[in-house]
């Protein structure tokens, strides 16, 4: 009994620790006094009105990049995952490990490598990657595609091959079988992979910091570079809005897929 009580108390403290920085953002965004002082002295909504337009354009960039990253990650991830789980060719396990290896590489390393690469690429072709939306999407595909592959591989592990055989037996062509049987059955893992790529793209700082810039600045990078120089209430208001949006997204995901399942694929 005492053991469970002690455990309860510990749990409470840990959860408080986990949620504190998220909750405080919302509280202080309404603080009329000095933004970093606690407790808040007065209530205000002025910070929300003071959010600079650059944050809105950064949000727009982030959403475009995340959407393209999610779609392309699945588009490249699905065939690769199918090939890796169904193919019987030499070096399959090695290719599997190689294609998933970007998840092991620190994002910062990928970021600076891509930055360096885009400079060389410019020297060679005079095509700009850095500072463009394409560059950002390319950068985010480095982790998006492996996430897509991994999610679909995990989903495919439970795939019942007899279902496809049944479809073929009933007269469906291989292409019909693919679209009407294979894809629908794998849909939950395809969706999970896409959502994962989307969320990670929205979250990323190191890669977008080095691949972006100018008109191609994502929201996290905009916040990052802002707080490097000054820390104002408008940033807190932006952060609070993100917390709100994340909460809605989270509840939706939990309803639709189940968070445990989504993150189970990540482990």
């Amino acid at each position: 009994m005492i053991r469970w009580l002690a455990l309860r108390a510990t749990l409470f403290l840990v959860f408080a620790f986990l949620l504190a920085p998220v909750c405080i953002v919302v509280i202080v965004s309404f603080n009329g006094g000095p933004i970093l002082s606690f407790p808040p002295t007065s209530f205000t909504t002025q910070w929300y009105a003071l959010i600079k337009p650059s944050f809105y354009s950064a949000l727009y960039v982030s959403l475009i990049v995340a959407t393209c990253t999610a779609l392309l990650s699945v588009a490249f991830g699905l065939p690769a995952a199918l090939a890796l789980s169904r193919g019987r060719f030499f070096g399959r396990d090695a290719l599997n490990a190689i294609l998933l290896s970007p998840l092991v590489v620190p994002a910062l390393v990928t970021g600076v490598a891509l930055y360096q690469y885009s400079l060389s690429f410019w020297d060679l072709t005079h095509i700009a990657l850095g500072g463009t939306l394409i560059g950002l999407i390319v950068g985010h595909l480095t982790f998006g595609v492996p996430f897509g592959i991994r999610a679909i591989l995990a989903g495919h592990a439970n795939f019942e091959p007899a279902l496809e055989e049944a479809a073929l037996n009933l007269g469906a062509t291989p292409l019909q079988t693919f679209w009407r049987v294979t894809v629908p059955i794998l849909r939950p893992s395809i969706v999970a992979g896409g959502i994962f790529a989307f969320v990670m793209s929205l979250d990323d700082v190191p890669i977008a910091l080095f691949m972006g810039g100018g008109d191609a600045t994502t929201l996290p990078v905009q916040i990052f570079t802002t707080v490097e120089f000054d820390f104002g209430g408008d940033v807190m208001a932006v952060a609070a809005l993100i917390v709100g949006a994340s909460a809605v997204l989270m509840l939706l995901l939990d309803r639709l897929i189940g968070l445990e399942q989504l993150f189970g694929a990540r482990q």
Partner: protein, 297 residues
């Protein structure tokens, strides 16, 4: 793909064995991988074998001097040590804070389990940058934590908890705790609850049962989790950059500094190549010690 395509393929050694058509389907993804990931990394590694010719300029001559500096120059050694110390503190913190929670999640029949798990995972879905800036109103001189400690009379003057090493440790523990908890939960779940009951039935109290049964059995999984969290802690950039207030120089912040302001690309490239090496070694080690049946990267 038609049969004529197949016939044009180079014949493998073994007769009557065509290349698996799945290999062709894999090809576009492999090409993308090579173009946007392998080539840039190779480029970066090559970079680390050159000198800086001037700001943002790279000399053509091959050199090992960058790496030599890393093992001889006290500046770099101190930075490596600081990075390593940060990783160890964060990992230890995550273990101590995370184990009880993981035990609860793995064993409780409570209907609150789902909610608790939701709470553990939820910070992961809130942008890392938001969680980071959330620490400022909490940890700054006039922030909530100092206010509370002063009110309780536990301290006489505000503590510096942010824009320094302490802030980075706190922020990283927070960022990586969910991963640690999820890993440990899986590990403990895999140990049959029967074994703990058997230990109790044979007369072992909770502490003895933990020490003699739970801990030894969870050790491989725990070590694997520790290595992964350590790898993530030393590769993280956003948190040390923001919570360290540009004052905490670890590998990650050094790399970014070289590329963003100092413009010594080879020096940054060398540090990045080393960080890459550490991350790979740690991950491979983690996969090695991981119990069989859980070997997906």
């Amino acid at each position: 793909m038609s049969t004529t395509d197949l016939e044009r393929l180079p014949r493998p050694d073994r007769p009557r064995r065509h290349a698996d058509p799945w290999l062709w389907i894999l090809l576009p993804t492999l090409a993308v991988f090579g173009l946007i990931f392998a080539a840039p990394l190779a480029d970066l590694i090559l970079l680390s074998f050159h000198h800086m010719a001037g700001p943002a300029q790279v000399d053509a001559a091959f050199t090992l001097a960058n790496y030599r500096a890393f093992v001889t120059d006290p500046f770099y050694l101190e930075m490596l040590l600081r990075t390593c110390g940060l990783g160890m503190l964060v990992t230890l913190g995550c273990l101590v804070v995370g184990y009880p929670v993981a035990y609860f999640l793995a064993r409780t029949p409570s209907r609150w389990r789902g909610f608790a798990l939701f709470l553990v995972i939820s910070p992961l879905l809130v942008s890392a940058i938001v969680r980071n800036i959330g620490w400022f109103p909490l940890l700054s001189q006039s922030g909530a934590v100092n206010w509370l400690l002063l009110k309780l009379g536990l301290i006489a003057a505000p503590l510096s908890l942010i824009n320094n090493f302490t802030g980075v440790v706190i922020g990283l523990i927070h960022a990586l705790l969910p991963f640690m908890i999820l890993t440990l939960t899986t590990v403990i779940q895999r140990i049959e609850g029967d074994l703990e009951e058997a230990a109790a039935n044979l007369g072992a109290g909770p502490l003895q049962a933990f020490w003699r049964v739970l801990l030894p059995l969870s050790l491989p999984g725990v070590v694997s989790g520790l290595l992964l969290v350590f790898a993530m802690a030393i590769s993280a950039y956003t948190t040390p950059a923001i919570l360290g207030g540009n004052r905490v120089l670890v590998m990650a912040t050094y790399i970014a500094q070289q590329f963003r302001s100092v413009l010594n690309y080879p020096a940054g490239g060398t540090a990045a190549a080393l960080l890459l090496l550490f991350a790979i070694v740690l991950t491979v080690l983690a996969l090695q010690v991981r119990p069989a049946g859980e070997r997906t990267p």
